[in-house]
């Protein structure tokens, strides 16, 4: 047993966060895709190889995930092969325990494929499959709320995790470390949709960027923010389209002199007419109307409520005695949590929606992307982890059923807690 390594792999639809529990302080963040350059050398990059790519125009993406579910195993296997190889993690599956994440409400037939892939194709010594929000709550949640009195520093009984990732956003309430399955809610909006939406409006209004997913994702990450007063910001932009504090001038990369775009200082007066050959993208109301979709999916015609409303919906699906505890222990994770103003907006909107007798507290980890991985690292050192593991020999004897039994998160006793 001493030789065994534990590999924690948060298998996100956009990036894989992977590293050994005992040896790494930080995970490697690896794109979960196979990218082919459409022009020129037609080179293909798998997973981490993408970091050697310097020309981001005209890329074709092959993603193993479709709407958040792992559907293309051919691509995923190529990426995992690469990650387990000597070049990246140097993993010998037969001597390794794997802790891997799956989406909430993963389909049973897809789960079977996980089991077969991990035990029969890769032959891992043992493995545990769980959802990323559950790994998140293995962290020290109370440290996210610095103003809390010391005597409450022990882990809270109720936590509500809002995981806003690449494919969708999940709201997952936990009681005593277990998810309340009937109260989990999903909003079909994630980072991918936001990038595609930005790409579309920019292509319609300014430059044709439809083929430039990579560049537009960078623009989104650099310029976009969550507005605290949406209508006021909109009015600011409308009144003066070229001279307002919201407008940003983003210099697009041309892949010969600059491979990375950046925000340039605004030009004033006569400078506006200077003859520089930079291609500039003026980001005006696009800066905040794009992340706004997380809060109002109806802005693009999607018939779903936004994050704050759905938090309320999820909490209302739990036992009334627990509502106050959930409002006071909300954790925001996932890539979309990196938008500036995101936490403040969730807090602000929720304060309006929540019953006035409850305190609303929203916490956000320092790195919302790797938070689940860090939780997984914590979990791997607990005795509970060994109980949850299914070994390869158990699998060979009992088949996928043993995985179903051991990895199942919501017990019957939890269903009684919900309404």
């Amino acid at each position: 047993m001493t030789e065994r390594k534990v590999l924690v792999l948060d298998n996100g639809a956009n990036t894989i966060k992977a590293g050994y529990a005992l040896f790494s302080q930080q995970p490697k963040i690896i794109p979960n895709c196979r990218v082919t350059r459409g022009k020129g050398d037609k080179k293909t990059f798998i997973g981490d190889q993408f970091s050697s790519c310097t020309d981001f125009s005209g890329l074709y993406y092959r993603l193993p995930f479709e709407k958040g579910f792992l559907t293309n195993w051919e691509v995923e296997k190529g990426i995992w092969d690469r990650i387990f190889s000597k070049d990246v993690l140097d993993c010998d599956p037969q001597k390794t325990s794997l802790l891997i994440t799956e989406p909430c409400f993963n389909l049973p037939n897809i789960q079977r494929t996980y089991d077969e892939m991990i035990f029969e194709v890769y032959e891992f010594q043992s493995y545990c499959r769980t959802i990323a929000p559950w790994l998140c709550i293995q962290n020290d949640i109370s440290s996210l709320y610095p103003n809390r009195p010391q005597n409450l520093a022990e882990p809270p009984d109720c936590v509500l995790v809002v995981d806003s990732g690449y494919s969708f956003t999940h709201i997952v309430p936990f009681v005593m470390g277990r998810p309340i399955l009937p109260a989990i809610r999903r909003i079909n909006i994630g980072g991918k949709l936001l990038t595609n939406h930005l790409k579309e409006i920019v292509s319609f209004r300014y430059w044709d960027m439809m083929d430039q997913t990579y560049v537009m994702n960078e623009v989104k990450e650099t310029c976009c923010y969550v507005s605290q007063d949406f209508l006021a910001d909109l009015e600011t932009c409308r009144k003066n389209t070229r001279d307002n504090p919201i407008l940003q001038e983003y210099v697009l990369p041309d892949f010969s002199r600059n491979t990375k775009g950046y925000i340039r200082e605004k030009k004033r007066g006569a400078e506006i007419y200077d003859q520089s050959d930079e291609q500039v993208l003026y980001m005006n109301n696009e800066c905040f109307t794009v992340p706004e979709i997380l809060f109002n999916p109806s802005d693009i015609g999607m018939n779903q409520a936004g994050i704050p409303e759905v938090i309320v919906e999820a909490i209302n699906a739990t036992h009334p005695d627990l509502h106050g505890l959930f409002y006071g222990n909300i954790v925001l994770v996932g890539g979309n949590s990196l938008f500036s103003g995101y936490k403040e907006r969730v807090e602000k909107d929720l304060r309006v929606l929540a019953p006035s007798e409850f305190e609303v507290k929203v916490g956000i980890p320092e790195d919302p992307i790797t938070y689940a991985w860090h939780g997984g690292r914590q979990f791997a050192s607990t005795p509970e982890f060994d109980e949850r593991l299914v070994t390869r020999s158990e699998y060979m004897e009992y088949g996928s059923n043993i995985c179903l039994r051991k990895f199942g998160l919501g017990g019957d006793e939890i269903d009684e807690m919900s309404e």
Binding site: T36, Y60, R62, W73, G78, P108, I110, E116, P182, S298
Partner: protein, 148 residues
């Protein structure tokens, strides 16, 4: 005079749904065939080194078979159907039951051209616009071009 088509609500809703599906695309253009070259993929790690040659052969073959079974590409809709979770009783939480409900507030209306608040919708296709200027751009570039 040319007969003008006016889309009914069902078609308009379908167009909105079509647009939402478009926003889930991985690539704007279709992936060209050249991509299928597999030469660059790293070889899977050999794990069964202690086996006898006879054993290894059968094991390798069955593994290969399994792998080819597992890597058959199925799209999510096919998998959803195959999983039969739609046939479970409604009190068992699944992918379908977890979907968040609609907002209790009415949707806000934005101009499809400039993105600011809009008070009007196109008579023909139902997309929003805010001014005569935006309506002109809309008619020139977008109106009735979303229809499949």
């Amino acid at each position: 005079m040319k007969h003008k088509v006016i889309l009914d609500q069902t078609t308009r809703n379908r167009n909105i749904q079509h647009h939402l599906n478009e926003l889930e695309r991985d690539n704007y253009a279709e992936v060209p065939e050249l991509e299928i070259v597999s030469g660059t993929i790293t070889k899977p790690r050999r794990t069964s080194e202690v086996d006898t040659s006879q054993n290894r052969k059968t094991k390798a073959r069955s593994k290969k078979q399994l792998l080819s079974q597992l890597t058959v590409k199925k799209n999510l809709n096919a998998l959803l159907e195959e999983s039969r979770i739609d046939q479970l009783p409604p009190d068992i939480p699944t992918y379908f039951t977890a979907v968040a409900g609609p907002s209790r507030y009415p949707p806000r209306k934005f101009c499809s051209v400039c993105g600011y608040l809009s008070n009007y919708s196109c008579k023909t296709c139902g997309m929003r616009y805010c001014s005569v200027k935006c309506l002109e751009i809309h008619e020139e570039t977008r109106c009735m071009k979303y229809t499949v």
